[in-house]
Every structure is written in C-alpha cells, then in structure tokens.
C-alpha cells in the first residue's frame, strides 16, 4: 500500500504544486507519470489497486449475465477532467484538495481504518465463538494467541469516521452496476491526469484486416475506449488492459508502437474547463475564509514531526497511514472532524483521552508518504513537544477529593518526570484532614505525549487534559526527508 501511495502520480504532482517544493517522497509517482507518455495508461490497467478491485467486483457481479451489453454513454467522461482541473488549480494556489478523490488514497484509507479492522474483528469473533465449543477451545486459544502475537492488533483499535469512509468506498464499487470501471471512466482525477499525457502515447491498439467486425472488443472494453468502427481507439481512455486482445477470436487485435489512423482527445471543452477553474477558485477562497474557533483550534494536536500547519495541510493527503500505524502502538491519532476546519478534514489529530503518543515510537513519520509528518530520529522525537498538559483541579482526585492518585505521574515517560507533586495537609470535603500528594505539570519538561490524559482514571472528562500550547513543528529543511 505504502509503495502505491508513493507511486501515485497525482499525489506527486499535487503535493509538489501545492508546496512549491521538491518532495522526494513522491519521486516514484513522477516516474509513473513519465512512463505514461510512451506506454499510455498502463498504470490504470495493470497497477492501480482500486482499478483491479473494481474489475474483481465487476466480474463477481456479472458472473450470471454474460450477454453483450450496449456500450454505455461517454457523456460523463469530462467530469474527471473537471475534477483534475479543480485539484490542480487549487494546488497551484497552495491548497491541496486531492484527498477526497485520489484513488490510491481512497483505497488506502478504506483498507486501513475499515476493511482491515473488519477482517480482524471477523476472525476474532469467529475464534471467540469457537472457544465456547469445548473440544475446540484449546485450538482456538492457540490460534488466537498466535494471530495476536504475529499479526493482529493486540487491542482492537477504533477509529472515527470509519462508517463514512466505508460508505464512500461502497458507492464507488456500486457504480460498477452502471458500467464497468465507472469510476475510472468518469470520475478518477488520476485517470484524467494519466489520460491527458497518454494522448501522446506511442503504444497503440492496432487492428488488422482479419477483423470480422463482431463487436466483442467494443462491448467488452472496460473503458468504452473502442469506437463504433471497432478500429479507432481513444488514446486518452484506453488503459491497455488487453481485454480486446484476449476476446478477439480471429486475433486481429494487438498492441504495437505504431500510430493508427485516428485517436481520441480529452473530453473537456473550454466552457467546462472554465467552470472547473471557477469552482476551484471559489472553493479555495471559501476554505480560506473558513472559521475555526480558538477553543477548537487549541485541541488540534498534531503528530510529532508535523510540518507547520499551513504546509502540513498542503502535504497531508489524508491516507490514514499514520492513523493506522499509531493504532498499533499508542493509538492517539484519529482523523480530524471539524476541529481544524473543513480544510483540515480527515487530517490526523492526537486525541489524548483515547490514546497517547508512545515515548519510544516514531512510526507515523516513517509511514507518511508525503513528508507532512517528518521522519524524526527517536531521540529528537522524544524531545519534540506536541502540546502541553494542564490539570483540571476540579476533576483531579487529589485536588478535589484530597486522596492520593498519581496515575498520571506514574505513566509520564519523561525520565525526569514532567509531572511532580507537593505533599501537603489538605482538608477533604468530608472535613477530615490528611497528607496528600498534589500533582502539577512542569511546563519545560512536558512533551505533550498525552499518556497522563489517557490513563487518568477519572470517569468522562479527565483530571488532566492537553492543548497544543508549546507545540513544536518541524520544517522540511531541518531534516533530510529520506
């Protein structure tokens, strides 16, 4: 998955445009893009994991009805170009808007926070049922322990927004009912980008005289790229999947580096081009006006190594790779809802009450495909401040009830302890007096990891909470990103 993300040309182009800097992380994406010029949309036909998923879905759903269908209309093809134009215009203005649309990102996101957890839950529940059956108990526990040790999350993680991600994904799959590769034909901006370059392709579909005009290629073409004469093929739409070659009974079809008589162009007229540009400008403008109140903004705690907020928003493609990897350790990262505004939707934020940043972990920076989270060496990460902890004295047990607790202090991973305490005589609510250890935060030492807030035993809102005060952001030049 990670490799695919780094190899997504759209991610490459949009991040480089949006950040106006060379992003080494996405180099592979540019290679794929460059390959499109000679080879055409080979990526779409042979590599794209979402495309392959759609093909599988299509096969399954069509198993019964083998009859030749009338090729579906081509009138929605322009939509994907419009989306692409919108994204690129946004990127040129410094606002990254590809995250809802990039197919690789969509698939990664869904797999990470919905499909994989669904799978582990299914297996775990099955084993949990097996445990009830007496003679299976031993085997089930053994399988269970093995899976947990080797592979599964030790604790089933939970994510926000899973349902939404899942539904969007299912909608894309369901569109296969309308036509095969509906998404790729009409909506995918990555397909549009590759399609644009593949106009100039050198590898083309060829048809020789033995063609009997049976029409099978036209009917079977996933992309509806073959025209009514069965010979002309749209250079923009054809993904070189080879279906036409394999269905052609007289073997009249093959691919070669030779230019055929005629081939298609990009379906985007000037009016729609302008429309997309204006829509994109308006979106960028509105996002800029977008209001995030101070209270909410203070709770936006970014992973350690995150770039300064504006750059971070430009780089982050919302793939949820960091969220997933974090769920296997401290588990603080979650996709953002509205706390960082619509512009920050689905970006990773730490939720200290749910999970904490593991002191000896720097995985999120390692998996981030765009460098939105920098790869910090562990010693640096351990000094990087994500935020600052504050006691809520009306909820912290020693402070409001006059009884010892100090769970937070116990867990604070800073070797010199960012939580310390004074031992003082206090009068308790019931009138009695006693020596109590009253904790406080040492601001200079606190790195904002949030484990104190995670482990605080107070029910509901904890006795200690975090804001992003004191946060340190890294900039690209502070580290070589590789």
């Amino acid at each position: 998955m990670d490799l695919f993300l780094r190899g997504s040309p759209l991610v490459a182009v949009a991040t480089i445009l949006a950040t106006r800097s060379w992003v080494t992380h996405v180099f592979l994406g540019l290679v794929v893009l460059a390959l499109t010029v000679p080879l055409g949309r080979v990526f779409c036909g042979w590599v794209c994991p979402l495309g392959s998923t759609l093909d599988v879905v299509h096969k399954i759903s069509l198993r019964k009805r083998k009859e030749l269908k009338k090729p579906s209309p081509t009138r929605w093809r322009w939509v994907k170009f419009a989306i692409l134009v919108g994204i690129l215009v946004g990127a040129a203005l410094g606002t990254q808007m590809l995250w809802p649309f990039d197919p690789i990102v969509i698939l990664t996101r869904t797999a990470d926070v919905a499909l994989y957890p669904l799978f582990t839950i299914a297996v775990s529940s099955l084993l949990a049922v097996m445990v009830r059956v007496p003679f299976l108990e031993g085997a089930a526990y053994r399988a269970y322990s093995f899976l947990h040790a080797a592979w599964f999350p030790l604790q089933q993680p939970s994510f926000r927004l899973v349902e939404l991600f899942f539904v969007l994904f299912v909608v894309i799959l369901a569109l296969e009912k309308a036509s095969s590769r509906f998404w790729c034909r009409n909506l995918c901006p990555l397909g549009a980008l590759l399609g644009f370059f593949s106009q100039f392709r050198l590898l083309h579909r060829q048809v020789d005289e033995s063609c009997t005009a049976c029409g099978l290629c036209r009917a079977r073409c996933r992309m509806n790229a073959v025209e009514d004469d069965y010979v002309t093929t749209s250079a923009v739409e054809c993904i070189a999947c080879g279906e036409c070659v394999s269905v052609c009974a007289p073997r009249a079809t093959h691919y070669a580096f030779r230019k055929p008589a005629r081939s298609g162009t990009v379906d985007l007229d000037r009016r729609r081009f302008m429309g997309a540009t204006v829509a994109s400008l308006a979106t960028v403008g509105l996002l800029g006006i977008g209001f995030a109140d101070r209270g909410r903004r203070g709770s936006v705690i970014r992973p350690p190594g995150a770039l300064p907020e504006a750059d971070f928003l430009d780089r982050c493609v919302r793939c949820q790779e960091c969220v997933k990897v974090c769920s296997s350790t401290g588990g603080c990262l979650q996709p953002s809802l509205w706390e960082s505004g619509l512009i920050g939707l689905w970006t990773p934020v730490a939720k200290p009450r749910e999970g904490y940043c593991e002191y000896n972990c720097n995985l999120c920076g390692q998996v981030c495909p765009t460098g939105a989270i920098q790869r910090l060496p562990l010693e640096v990460k351990q000094r990087t401040k994500m935020g600052l902890a504050f006691f809520d004295k009306s909820r912290c047990i020693p402070w409001y009830r006059g009884e010892d607790c100090l769970v937070c202090e116990e867990h604070c991973p800073v070797p010199d302890k960012a939580i310390r305490f004074d031992q003082r005589m206090v009068r308790r609510p019931d009138g009695s007096e006693g020596l109590v250890k009253l904790p406080y935060v040492v601001e200079e030492l606190c790195i904002g990891c949030g484990i104190c807030a995670t482990k605080c035993p107070v029910v509901g809102q904890g006795g200690i909470f975090l804001t992003n005060a004191n946060e340190q952001r890294w900039i690209d030049s502070q580290f070589s990103s590789q």
């Binding site: 947990h148 604790q155 593991e358 100090l406 769970v407 302890k417």
Partner: protein, 303 residues
C-alpha cells in the same frame, strides 16, 4: 496430653496417612518448610544469585512438582531496556524458568499486563526472548481471558478481574523488581500482582494501600523472588535515566511475601513500618513485616 486430645490427634494422623495421595503435595510442602524465612544473595551473576537463593529455601522442588503448570510473573510493564531497571532483569526470569522446567514443570508461562504497548514491553524488557529461550511460553495478555472473582476478605474491593492463567496455575511465582513509586513509596511484590489484574487499574490508585492488600488476599504466590540486581532509586516506576539506577546485584527470596517486601524496603533504605501497604498487609495477616523477627540467611557469592 489427655485422652481426648490423643484420640483426635491420632485420628488426624491416620486420616492424613490414608489420604497420602492427594495430600502428598501438602505434605511435601510442609516437609520443605525451609530453615530460613528469607534468602538474600548478593553476587555478580543474577543467575547464580537466583539459584543460590532458591536452594537456601529448600530448592525449587519444594515449590514445583512434576507436571505442574507454573506462572512466573515478572514486572515487564514498561517499554524500557533492562539497564533502566523499570522491569525485572531478564536473566533472573530466565533462570527461574529453567529451574522450574528442570523440576519437571509441564509448562511455564511468563506474562504481564503492560502499561505501554505490549509488544514493545515484551521485546525491549528482554524478558520475552530470555524466557522463551529457556522454554517458557510468553503469551500476550488477552482481554477476553480475565475472570471476575469475588474478594471475600476485601475491605475496599469486593471483586475484581483476574487473569485466568494466573489464578488457575498450580504454582505462581512472583518476580518483582525493586524500584521507587510515588504513590506506594516503593513497588515490590504485593504491587507487582497488579499485572494480573484486568479492568481500569487506575481506579486502584486511590486508597491504594487497602486495595492492593485486598487483591493479595485472593492471589497467593507460593514463592516471591525480589530482583534487586539494578534498583531504580528515583523517577519510578519507569525511569529512563541511567543515573537514577543503582547496581545492587542482589536477590531476595521467601515464601512470606510481606517479609520479602519489607526486606526490599530496608535494602532501599526505607523503614517498612512507614509503608502503608505493608503495615496494612501485616494487620490483615498476610505476613510478617518486622524483619528482625525473621530468620534471614545472607550469602555473598564471589565473582
């Protein structure tokens, strides 16, 4: 002795003899009642210290019999290296595992419900590797395997979740590490048993002294072996500074877990009578706190 007493006693003897099979275990334990209450061994090799300490208590066969399932409970709650002294020394754990298997134990399990992410703790404490190498199982704790047990003698807690493998084991050997802890003052053996508890353990921190004793009334390890190879003096329980660690190269073993903890406190330079949870444990009859009343055998092993 009057006639009545004589009759009762001889009947008891007869009964005991008749039930020799099932009672053999008790008898052997009684026989093995060691000559010393506490074995304190100091020396450069943690493994040799463990061996010596256990032999002073009558050897491992006094605790583990052929076919037993043994649970060895170290402290491996933190994602720290052995040098940080936040977890039990891996060599100490490994040697105990080896001895148990030598004594014919069917299975030795080593686990802990960790505070940091479990895989990290198991790995970086070095215990998983060392114990597995000696033939122990080192499984991760599964949330589904906690069972609710009532605490009949509990004063604060009437019930809690305990790990099934720990309560079902034939023999439980508690292997804490000696280190500072701000709530309890020190964390030693009684506290180490929190690692077999489920639920929200943070709830145990207030009125800690009573609650930890409540827990210990239900789970009774047959042997407690305190690892003081390296001792975390400050910033416990997880530390992180090497300058907070003192090398003591010592192991303290005993059947009376209150005594072991009390001795650990003395080693640490604390007065056991000032530690609330020990005072509470003695009051509730879990063991003896006054080290002077105990037979302590101290041995120093040369390099």
């Amino acid at each position: 002795m009057n006639r009545r007493e004589f009759l009762v006693k001889s009947a008891a003897c007869l009964a005991a003899g008749a039930c020799a099979g099932p009672w053999a275990r008790l008898a052997s334990l009684a026989k093995a009642q060691p000559a010393v209450d506490l074995a304190v061994v100091q020396g450069p090799s943690p493994r040799a210290n463990v061996r010596k300490a256990i032999s002073l208590l009558g050897g491992i066969s006094a605790f583990v019999r052929r076919g037993d399932v043994v649970v060895v409970k170290p402290n491996m709650a933190w994602d720290r290296l052995p040098e940080h002294a936040a977890n039990t020394d891996p060599e100490v754990v490994a040697e105990i595992v080896r001895l148990c298997l030598e004594a014919g134990a069917r299975k030795v399990k080593v686990f802990d419900r960790t505070c940091n992410e479990a895989r990290r703790c198991y790995l970086r404490s070095g215990i998983q590797k060392a114990a597995e190498k000696e033939g122990a199982e080192v499984p991760f704790v599964l949330e589904q395997r906690f069972v609710k047990m009532s605490i009949p003698e509990g004063e604060e807690l009437k019930s809690w979740l305990f790990y099934r493998d720990a309560v079902e084991a034939d023999v439980l050997i508690n292997v804490p590490v000696l280190k500072s802890h701000s709530v309890s003052g020190l964390t030693i053996g009684l506290k180490n048993l929190m690692g077999i508890l489920g639920g929200d353990r943070g709830q145990l921190h207030h009125r800690f002294d009573k609650k930890i004793v409540d827990i210990n009334t239900v789970v009774r390890p047959q042997l407690t072996l305190l690892d003081a190879t390296r001792v975390l003096l400050r910033n416990g329980p997880q530390g992180g500074n090497l300058r907070d660690v003192q090398q003591m190269d010592t192991v303290v073993a005993g059947v009376d877990r209150v005594a072991v903890d009390a001795y650990g406190a003395v080693l640490f330079g604390r007065d056991p009578a000032q530690l609330g949870f020990l005072v509470e444990a003695q009051r509730r009859g879990l063991g003896v706190l006054d080290v002077k009343r105990l037979r302590v055998e101290k041995v120093s092993l040369a390099a």
